[in-house]
Symmetry: C2
Subunit: 250 residues, 2 copies
Amino acid sequence: MDQVNPQGNPMVRKLEQSGLLQEQDRAHLRALCQTPREVAAETILVHEGDRANGIRIMMSGFAYRYKIITEGRRQIIGLLVPGDFCDLQAAILQKADHFIAMLTPGSIAYVPQSKVDDLTFAPSSLARALWWSTLLDESILRERLASIGQRRSDERLAHFFCELLIRLQIVGQADPNGCHVPFTQEHIADFVGLTRVHVSRTVKELRLKNLLNFKNRRLTILDRRRLEAFCGFDPTYLHLMGEEVAAMQA
Amino acid sequence: MDQVNPQGNPMVRKLEQSGLLQEQDRAHLRALCQTPREVAAETILVHEGDRANGIRIMMSGFAYRYKIITEGRRQIIGLLVPGDFCDLQAAILQKADHFIAMLTPGSIAYVPQSKVDDLTFAPSSLARALWWSTLLDESILRERLASIGQRRSDERLAHFFCELLIRLQIVGQADPNGCHVPFTQEHIADFVGLTRVHVSRTVKELRLKNLLNFKNRRLTILDRRRLEAFCGFDPTYLHLMGEEVAAMQA
DNA sequence: CGTACTTTTGAAGTGCCTCAACGGTAGTGG
DNA sequence: CCACTACCGTTGAGGCACTTCAAAAGTACG
């Protein structure tokens, strides 16, 4: 694996993007994440229906949220990357409404429920950054909803790869034109609302169109502009700061 | 139309569900919503790309969020009912990432940007209720994502009607077994990711199965339990309080 | 009472799914 | 190093759910 935290605390790194963090917030965050616990791939971090019980923070590795609709039908709701909260929702809504499972091995920091109020309801720039982070997650959800509802399978998959690459770049887990993809094609299928088989066919189709290459869990994008144009990818919904956007284009 | 605000300030009514409001919060909210502005149906309240500019609150009528994917492809992201914030996201993320349009005529209260910080970052039970409200919206989005990604058209539509009925009941715009639906079938199609034509056919199919009746914008549900079982509707994701749930079942 | 919009219906096409089998790749133990 | 196993990805054939296009019927509104 690459370095786990190429640039220090991943949560600081993530919230830095809000442009709201102050020095005391960084210290506060670092203090919260001091003793992460190692977890294996496929570990279920949160069960649907769990009552609120502190907050978990992704320190390294990847995880994903999902819902089970009926036996055999599962929708992956979102990807969790280092620096993400797992269950801020559950802490405030009292009850988890979906599952969270590790995708890769990783490490998780734990903030007890008693400290949650300090984080979220103190009149601090940190609370503001957490609002920002929550609303960003919601924005990503909206874009994904539109994608599943309206895009064809090829555009949908292309859009998925575009978002994945940017999000992994932000956390330093990708290089300029590609990344290691922590998903199997079956995960991807559950993510974009297609079948495993059709994902395989569609990836092939995108490769034949020279839009991207995806082999052995390695994604390579040849011409990013063309891929983004193909699927109508507009990163506005990721609410990146100017510098980040510039870095992406480079 | 029915009474616009059957039980006073709709925002108070909505946030009451969080179980977190205190008397000073109710007064605070009422003060914020004092002079709503009347708006016509189809008015666009927020444009994608708009810079943050205060917050709008639905006082009466209905609105909807949507994204345009390409010319002619639109996804409706969510329904706004009285008491909902329109653009809390935009106020904190700085920029609107989707459109909001009125579905019916209604009235909108406006909170200037200068007062937003008081609302969201004061260490108050109100700020806590707003967090709750935001996370609830996110929970609804997740459920909808799963629905569009995994359910067949008949289940998806049935689920849509189940959610619609409950949400309208909460704001006092429905009776126990039915409601006036503010959408055209074309809106519904854009909401659930199907075509207008297929929505029409699917509604017919649900009627033939005696699951519901939907004619002239009037939804009637004959056997709620059977409809909910049919589509796997589980209201957990709406995070209703005990009393609300009980009222629904009655 | 005519006009515009919404809903319904039919017929034909297609995108994605299902089922089933084969091929690749990685890990394990002999 | 090869054989074995398990999982993942690929390919083919056939079916069905949903779409598209087009036109008629129903409904709302001045």
